[in-house]
């Protein structure tokens, strides 16, 4: 059964886009919202969300990376362990050593070069509609 719901705080630009897309698809905004809610509920939680526990690691990496030069910074065990490596092979080898000694709880490899955003085109063959 349909229910009337009033939602505060919806982003104006987002709503305009939803309205335009719904019109293109020949459906109502309510139908689009229902579809979006259905997808959100059924989808597995995003990796980043499921890994909220990684945030301390990322913060520690950002803090420790300052002024470290080139190469890679490896941060492990919520920032308790960190070291710099010249290559990814070296980073992996040292992490493997920690893992085999039973001393690795979590880890993150941070490139020390200037941070840049990369976009990759995906053909779309892996997505199901």
């Amino acid at each position: 059964m349909a229910k009337g719901v009033f939602v505060r705080g919806v982003d104006e630009r987002l709503y305009a886009e939803v309205k335009a897309r719904a019109a293109l698809l020949g459906i109502t905004v309510s139908q689009a919202v229902n579809q979006a809610l259905e997808m959100w509920l059924r989808a597995p939680p995003p990796l980043e969300q499921a890994r909220g526990a990684r945030e301390p690691l990322r913060s520690a990496a950002s803090r420790l990376a300052a002024g470290r030069g080139k190469g890679y910074l490896v941060v492990a065990n919520d920032g308790a362990v960190s070291f710099r490596c010249e290559t990814l092979e070296e980073a992996v080898e040292r992490l493997q050593g920690l893992y085999e000694a039973g001393l690795l709880k979590n880890s993150l490899i941070k490139p020390l070069e200037a941070r840049r955003v990369e976009f990759v085109e995906v053909g779309g063959g892996g997505l199901e509609v």
Partner: protein, 132 residues
């Protein structure tokens, strides 16, 4: 070195696919998975969250800002990790593998495909990859 894939006829139209082995370089956990060849994908391998979890790729995650674009639009943030990749019986070394939160099928893109001579023969349903 050469190897064969096949056309998955359960998809319409049939899609070329090949088996790839991935190994977590830290834990040693590995899996052989079916990847669909996607010449429109700029990257190397795109995996699902399920594969990411099974291979424990959290241990080899790389902090990078990478976004997938679909048809030039809709950026989706990807997670990056390192994996040893084996294709056609040989290692391709440490490869940056990305995980897409909405992906259902694994994709092999030009980042790997371009290292091979690829023969996609849909008429006979055969895929041939050869490392020159």
């Amino acid at each position: 070195m050469k190897c064969e894939g096949f056309y998955d006829r359960s998809r319409s139209p049939p899609a070329p696919a090949v088996r790839v082995k991935l190994e977590n370089p830290v834990t040693g956990r590995s899996a052989e998975e079916l990847f669909y060849i996607d010449t429109g994908f700029d990257g190397t391998l795109l995996v699902t969250e399920d594969v990411w979890s099974r291979l424990e790729l959290d241990y080899v995650a790389v902090d990078e800002d990478v976004y997938a674009l679909h048809g030039g639009f809709l950026p989706v943030r990807l997670s990056t990790a390192l994996a040893r990749v084996y294709l056609c019986g040989e290692t391709l070394g440490l490869v940056r593998v990305r995980a897409h939160p909405l992906l259902r099928r694994l994709l092999l893109g030009r980042g790997i495909l371009n290292r091979f001579y690829a023969h996609l023969d849909a008429t006979s349903g055969r895929v041939l990859l050869e490392n020159p």
